[in-house]
Symmetry: C2
Subunit: 196 residues, 2 copies
């Protein structure tokens, strides 16, 4: 008989998810085993299956949770009455903050989504594409309104998102500026470079 | 008896190196086998060993060849009498050009160097650190001379180098701007963002 899920189960699943994000970051999804995860969580491997079905489910949850967070944010940004340049800055700050605060999950969803199985894989790819298009559309409207330098908007998105992925090295760096300083530096470099 | 190396051997080695860079890019160094490489080059696996000793030697050659190219360039840039901002732009353009023209080698040396064995591994890490420090020193002197916005120079290097690594997606992209347009776009975003 299936057990009824209690609140305790839900929070236990969150602990497992967080640990799996750390593990996939360190070892890569493919190399990571459920045994590694059990060690990280501090339980027997078998008892993990009371809370989750498979390693694939964990990757799936990490990727789609992150996608939801970014989509909810861009929905709100688009709906706001802000100017394109200020929308861009808001998106940028949000990406940086997510890379600082939820580093493991964001990193894993950005690098390891390739290991999703269909239909999740194609669905996730479509969502990525759609997100980038909406990001580019904000830049494009900034160009058309004369606020942003004339550049190819898709290239700008590509440059911006990769620049932010550099926060990965910041996490590992010994020469550590504060999160605030990091954020202001990146915003200065990227937003000022786009401003007309 | 060892064969005497002829010019033909040298160019054959270059063909093998180029093919191995492509292979390591596609499959990753770890997953790539000498058999895969033989298929790519169009010879028997055994005959590869007339030209190279091991898979490790190929990775080693790719990484150190790329390092040499970048070090020769930064030496010349430092020795030039140019202003810091123009040195920075020269470095940036060179990185972009290398990512466009020698994509496979540059990408592999940037991502797969972790699989080098010591003493090459630590040597390569030291070279990377040293290169980034010299890059940061150029930005720092631009800040001190009031040409560049006050930012943390190491963070700027991190952001710039990761932004350029985005050319990786450009290579795979179907929405393709020209190499020239890509270069100008990136220079605009990154150099303008640093200029005071």
């Amino acid at each position: 008989m299936a057990r009824i899920q209690t609140e305790k189960d839900v929070s236990r699943k969150e602990v497992i998810l967080k640990a799996s994000a750390k593990l996939f970051l360190e070892k890569g999804y493919k190399a990571a085993s459920m045994r590694d995860l059990a060690v990280k969580v501090g339980v027997e491997a078998a008892s993990l299956y009371n809370h989750i079905r498979s390693k694939a489910e964990l990757l799936h949850d990490i990727c789609f949770n992150v996608a939801n967070v970014f989509f909810e944010h861009i929905n709100a940004v688009e709906a706001s009455g802000a100017t394109p340049i200020s929308k861009l800055e808001t998106l940028l700050r949000f990406h940086i903050q997510q890379m600082i605060d939820n580093y493991e999950e964001v990193f894993v969803s950005d690098r390891e989504w390739r290991y999703l199985a269909d239909p999740y894989l194609s669905n996730f790819q479509n969502q990525r594409r759609s997100y980038r298009k909406r990001f580019a559309a904000i830049i494009q409207s900034g160009i058309e309104q004369g606020q942003i330098n004339k550049i190819d908007a898709s290239t700008a998105v590509l440059v911006i998102l990769h620049a932010i992925s550099g926060i990965d090295s910041w996490h590992r760096s010994t020469h550590k500026v504060s999160g605030e300083e990091l954020t202001e530096n990146i915003v200065t470099i990227l937003v000022e470079g786009l401003k007309k």
